[in-house]
């Protein structure tokens, strides 16, 4: 009526999300009309990759320019324009690009539709970026649901595979339940503070006496429970092993990294900004969750014979390490958790990408024995896998080691020395099951039924992940400086 309710700087702040949405619509509409054969499938993968790169340029070039002009929020305070949001957006986009590399050949081999697959991947990216950047509970929730709905479909994407469908349904039901708990917690918080703006909630909680309110405390507990669901922290992790092991492998690698990082981003912003006045309460809750998550995840992973389930439990355990940085409750702790998620992205994607390589009689296969004798068949693949496993186990010289060093240091500095000890014991347990794979690759004889399915994009994913896992140690400073500057708003 009076004028357009947004400005050019609002649109500039949202440029990456807009790019991704347009890319998603192009893929969807083109997919509806295209003849179906392998070449069209690859065409959609390239469009998606191009869209992701364009969005990456928007995040790494466009947003800093906007920030240097003094823009802090956009869309009437709904969207935060800060280094924290940009860091996580870039992380999601990198994870998506690497996962797309692993998807090219995989979708051909599984004879699955490509257009919708990449559509859901792009829309889930939009949701994740909104989750990491929302400055208001309403936008945050809508972003969370956009991410979640896209990912449910991706997990159940292989309709002819019963495990995939089962995983999709389980993830959908438990994810829906946890979203219900989440929005209930938000409603209780709104009832007490009278605002949905994350910054305004902090102001409202700083009023003396507010934080003793039993309804608010119930809201905080439910909030932590639902966030624990989303990051798959024990005892709210039960969906994760089924979802990760049943999902198509490139989807498992994508969601075990990107969805988890998005949930962490949301957790950090809610706890460190909105609930900053109640830091003592939630650090106590999260310390318990962190110990349970690390210990249960690692112990459960030891007993698995299926590699996908093993890595699913291992990713549960890694959420426990990242939680340690948040438990510290300091800006240093947040930067440690963020660096851990950064390191985890590359080493975990690399490890999952190795599973995509193995096929038995045309079917995807994922048992520990399938890795037997890998070193005799492909020395490069075995070398890359060793790099990823060392990094996941936290052994130098890898970024996984730096990440663990960083979170343990943050925990010790904040007075949680015992938590760092538990973490170190857990790292030792985890080496036990990672070494099982190393032993299979080197000691055992190869099984001739298993074929290695390489493709150029998959090799690029593997090579990039391996190179960053190693070089990230040599050139560690820029990454650490980036992470620390991204934590500045807290």
């Amino acid at each position: 009526m009076e004028s357009i309710p947004f400005s050019a700087s609002d649109l500039a702040a949202l440029n990456a999300e807009i790019t991704l949405t347009i890319g998603a619509c192009i893929v969807l509409v083109w997919g509806a009309f295209a003849e179906r054969n392998n070449n069209t499938g690859h065409r959609f993968a390239w469009i998606t990759l191009l869209t992701v790169f364009a969005a990456m340029a928007g995040v790494t070039i466009g947003l800093p320019a906007l920030m240097s002009n003094g823009v802090a929020t956009a869309f009437a305070g709904q969207l935060a324009v800060d280094g924290f949001g940009s860091f996580f957006s870039a992380l999601f986009l990198v994870a998506a690009a690497l996962a797309i590399g692993a998807s090219f050949r995989f979708l051909d081999d599984e004879d699955a539709h490509a257009a919708e697959y990449y559509f859901f991947m792009l829309t889930s990216l939009v949701g994740m970026m909104i989750m990491a950047r929302a400055a208001d509970l309403i936008s945050l929730f809508v972003g969370l649901e956009l991410q979640a709905l896209s990912v449910y479909v991706l997990v159940g994407y292989l309709k002819s595979d019963r495990r995939s469908s089962e995983a999709g349904v389980k993830y959908f039901i438990l994810g829906g339940l946890s979203s219900g708990v989440f929005v209930y917690a938000l409603s209780l918080i709104y009832a007490i503070t009278g605002t949905t703006n994350i910054e305004a909630i902090r102001t409202s909680l700083n009023v003396p006496g507010t934080t003793d309110n039993p309804i608010l405390i119930l809201g905080l507990i439910l909030l932590v429970v639902s966030l624990a669901f989303k990051v798959a922290a024990v005892p709210f992790h039960m969906w994760a092993p089924d979802a990760y092991s049943g999902a198509p492998t490139p989807v498992s690698m994508f969601i075990s990294v990107a969805s988890k990082a998005a949930a962490f981003a949301m957790m950090i912003r809610l706890l460190f900004v909105a609930f900053e006045p109640m830091t003592a309460s939630w650090t106590a809750l999260l310390a318990v969750l962190s110990v349970a998550t690390m210990t249960f995840g690692n112990v459960a992973a030891v007993t698995q014979d299926n590699v996908k389930r093993m890595f699913a439990y291992s990713s549960v355990a890694h959420a426990g390490y990242a939680l340690m940085g948040i438990v510290a409750g300091t800006a240093y702790g947040v930067s440690a958790a963020m660096y851990y998620l950064f390191a985890y992205t590359f080493m975990n994607i690399g490890a999952w990408a190795m599973i995509v390589i193995f096929r038995r009689e045309g079917m995807a296969c994922d048992r520990v024995e399938d890795f037997n004798g890998l070193v005799h068949r492909s020395g490069w693949a075995a070398a890359a896998m060793i790099i990823f496993l060392l990094s996941l186990g936290g052994i130098p010289p890898t970024i996984g080691f730096l990440g663990k060093w960083y979170v343990f240091g943050a925990a010790v500095e904040a007075g949680y020395g015992w938590l760092a000890v538990v973490g170190a014991i857990n790292a030792a347990i985890s080496i036990f099951y990672y070494l099982r794979l190393v032993k299979a690759m080197f000691v055992a004889d190869a099984d001739s039924d298993v074929t290695l399915v390489h493709s150029m994009p998959l090799n690029v994913t593997l090579a990039l992940s391996a190179v960053i896992t190693i070089l990230g140690v040599i050139w560690a400073t820029p990454f650490i400086e980036w992470v620390q500057s991204a934590t500045l708003p807290f």
Binding site: A76, H113, S150
Partner: protein, 171 residues
Amino acid sequence: MEIYAFYAIAAVVLSSAVLMVTSRHLVHSVVYMVISFVAVGALFILLEAEFVAAVQILVYAGGIVVLFLFVVMLVNVSETYQVEFLHRQWLPATVLSMILAAQIGFLLWGNAGGLAADPSASGSVLRAVEGGNTETMGMTLYTDYLLPFEVASVLLLVAMIGAIYLSRKRV
């Protein structure tokens, strides 16, 4: 005057809700549910929240009930006809109802639980706006909440495409 209208409508809401749960015939249940929904819509009009009233009638009494009737028609009614009134879930249902009742009681009598005093809750602010609260709501939705509104439209697209993809037979 308003208070009598409230009691009359509240009586309709409650009695039709009880009848919906107790009636043995599925279609009767659905009809009682419609009556309950429409009466809740009337309560909203009494509060001068005409937008919420319209949404209540359109979405609940309209859309949701049609969905229920579809399900009733699709399942074999004669089999579900004889369901026990107190089935296996009575215990968890009772516990949850008690918790809900305790929460409502706490809010009503426990000093309103320290709820934030929101001046617009009294309706006086909204009533003052020319064109009533529907226009206020629209203005707010398309200005302050433009971003979540747009993201929600992508969300609905994803939900639709997802449902079509998953339910479509092999192509």
